[in-house]
């Protein structure tokens, strides 16, 4: 039992990173109906910015927010400079998804060009080896920090979306774009903000993941796919679903790694994706979407 609880706890720590990534994906998907294939690469770019800033001896408290802001700025730039012109030329939904694939490729190439593709370590204020114990359960300082930041990030996002005027505008825009435009909501700026927020959440996940893994241009690929799986599990349309999906995926992975085999751990996410999509493709909390001719 204690063993089980231990797996659950370490699963929740990784799960909260998946939840942050999944939140970003769901935020973009439900406001613009675009699956952002560049999400992982945006997060990687932000994390590398913080690596450079930390290398210039800036305190983490300054460099982390700067990194998150730079990730957001990148996403908004992409929205205004690429997506909006493409939409003006009547790009299809498929075309817009492919545009994000293109952006992902560009970022990936530029990151390995400027920072090199060798692995680096990010100096991080929380340590991976310092352990906290209570009642026989062990959690590393980093794991605890990750969990707290995951809760904090999703909580703040919840407050923003549900309790502020801006949040109402965001919900209106994702519910019905033409109606929101008619009501005088600046939908372009709102959508750009959604992209920025999503990328910021991704960078946050990347920052907390980098000390556990090593930093290289491809380090976000796997967490990004896991985040995808989490978002699908919870329902791509739903923000609480993304958090729930990410956490469930983290715990399930940790249990599978502990009780079945480590090799199975990575394949599990994709099994979950395929099973969920076959059985209930709107996810746990998503609403079914019906299409008419």
């Amino acid at each position: 039992m204690r063993q089980f609880m231990q797996y659950v706890i370490s699963g929740l720590a990784t799960g909260s990173i998946y939840a942050l990534v999944a939140l970003g994906l769901a935020l973009i998907y439900r406001s613009t109906r675009i699956l952002n294939f560049a999400h992982g690469d945006m997060a990687t770019a932000g994390t590398f910015v913080s690596f450079t800033l930390l290398g210039m001896n800036l305190a983490p408290i300054i460099s982390f927010p700067l990194a998150i802001l730079s990730g957001s700025a990148l996403a908004m730039l992409f929205y205004f400079a690429i997506l909006v012109p493409a939409q003006r030329r009547n790009a299809t939904a498929l075309g817009q998804i492919i545009l994000t694939v293109g952006l992902g490729l560009i970022l990936q190439g530029l990151i390995s060009y400027f920072w090199g593709s060798d692995t680096k370590t990010l100096t991080f204020p929380l340590s991976d080896s310092k352990l906290w114990r209570f009642q026989g359960l062990v959690i590393s300082e980093l794991g605890l920090g990750t969990f707290v930041i995951g809760l904090l990030g999703s909580g703040l996002l919840y407050l923003l979306v549900q309790k502020t005027r801006l949040g109402i505008a965001m919900r209106a825009t994702s519910e019905n774009l033409p109606a929101a435009q008619t009501l005088g909501i600046p939908t372009r700026r709102i959508l750009a903000l959604a992209w920025g927020l999503a990328a910021g959440l991704g960078v946050m996940g990347g920052l907390f993941l980098a000390p556990a893994l090593l930093l290289d241009p491809f380090f976000m690929l796997e967490p990004f796919l896991k985040g995808f799986a989490g978002a699908i599990l919870g329902g791509l349309q739903s923000l609480p679903g993304a958090i729930l999906g990410g956490l469930i995926l983290g715990v399930a992975e940790s249990l599978a790694g502990g009780y079945i085999s480590i090799a199975f751990k990575n394949t599990l996410a994709f099994l979950i994706i395929i099973v969920i999509l076959l059985v209930r493709h709107e996810g746990l909390l998503g609403e079914e979407f019906k299409e008419r001719v």
Binding site: R89, A93, L99, V101, L105, A229, I273
Partner: protein
């Protein structure tokens, strides 16, 4: 563009004598290339032929049927490893190639099943999951992947007094021509029209009497057969298999080739394959910048020329057809 008066004319692939002359000239040029004795050129052309097979298959799936897929690397790996094991068991080469294609096609049909219910982005994720799951299975199972030593594939022997490289060049050229012919014929047949109908509106297509399940699965199986064949030929080319040949990047390369060449164009697929193989060669010293070039090309093509190189080529031809009257 052309006026066709009967179904027989509609089915004809070469409608004008000069189109036939052009294609004939290209084929003759390709046949002559090895006589120039430029080994590197022959090698690159071989790779382009191999890739053009898979890219055509994916274009049938993505461009004509409109089912977005990111699982190409998985089918590539299935084809390559099937062929590798078959040749290790001493199964003759044509049978091995066929087995590679057929096994990939079976997996394609299995992966196609979600496509009966899923659309657009969801399908993209499901297929992407498949591709990456295959890669991870390869990483973790030494029986299939041959462990740390990799799997050695016997190369094609030298035949008819030619060198090994030239023999393989002609072999791939022949296969690429056959597959191109098959794709052109599929597209102008009932199946091809059914694919396009599914892409344009699947509910309307079903109402018109297209069997959705059959043709979606057929499209998946066919594209995977092509992909499996590409994998088998690729393993013959390099003679050595390891899981790292089949990462997600490989799927992206094929996908990029389809987009750059032009959705729903067989000729475009060949040009796209040539693009993704030859352009990185121009930037030999800076391997890191290859994805950047691919990405920028995708952005430019999707914003300014959604039909890719093939669309631009068609516009150029139309311009010169009416020249100087426009």
């Amino acid at each position: 563009m052309d006026l066709t008066e009967s179904y027989r004319e509609e089915l004809r692939l070469i409608r004008k004598p000069w189109t036939g002359t052009g294609i004939g000239l290209i084929v003759v040029a390709l046949l002559v290339i090895p006589w120039l004795r430029m080994d590197f050129l022959v090698y690159m052309a071989t790779v382009v032929f191999i890739y053009s097979i898979g890219v055509q298959g994916q274009n049938i799936l993505i461009g004509y049927t409109g089912q977005i897929s990111f699982g190409q690397a998985g089918f590539l790996a299935i084809g390559a490893y099937t062929f590798g094991h078959a040749s290790a068991l001493g199964i003759p080469l044509p049978l091995g190639l066929l087995a590679a294609g057929i096994l990939a096609a079976i997996f394609g049909a299995i992966v196609g099943f979600p496509s009966l219910r899923l659309k657009g982005p969801y399908l993209a994720i499901a297929t992407m999951g498949f591709g990456i799951a295959i890669y991870q299975i390869l990483l973790n199972s030494e029986v299939i992947s041959g462990g740390r030593m990799g799997l050695v594939v016997k190369k094609l022997p030298a035949l008819f007094g030619l060198t090994q490289q030239v023999t393989f060049y002609y072999f791939t050229l022949l296969l690429a021509l056959i597959f191109t012919l098959v794709s052109f014929n599929t597209i102008s047949s009932y199946a091809g029209r059914a694919f396009v109908a599914i892409r344009d509106n699947d509910i309307a297509a079903e109402a018109m009497g297209v069997n959705l399940a059959r043709y979606k699965l057929l499209s998946f199986a066919m594209s995977s057969f092509y992909m499996g064949m590409q994998g088998a030929l690729y393993s013959l080319l390099i003679g050595f298999l390891e899981p790292n040949l089949f990462t997600f990047m490989e799927s992206v390369t094929v996908f990029v080739a389809v987009i750059i060449g032009g959705l729903a164009s067989i000729g475009g697929s060949i040009m796209g394959a040539a693009f993704v193989i030859l352009v990185p060669q121009l930037f030999g010293g800076m391997k890191e910048l290859v994805p950047v070039i691919f990405g920028i090309t995708i952005l430019i093509i999707l914003i300014f020329e959604p039909h890719g190189i093939a669309g631009r080529w068609l516009k150029i031809r139309l311009y010169f057809r009416n020249w100087p009257f426009r």
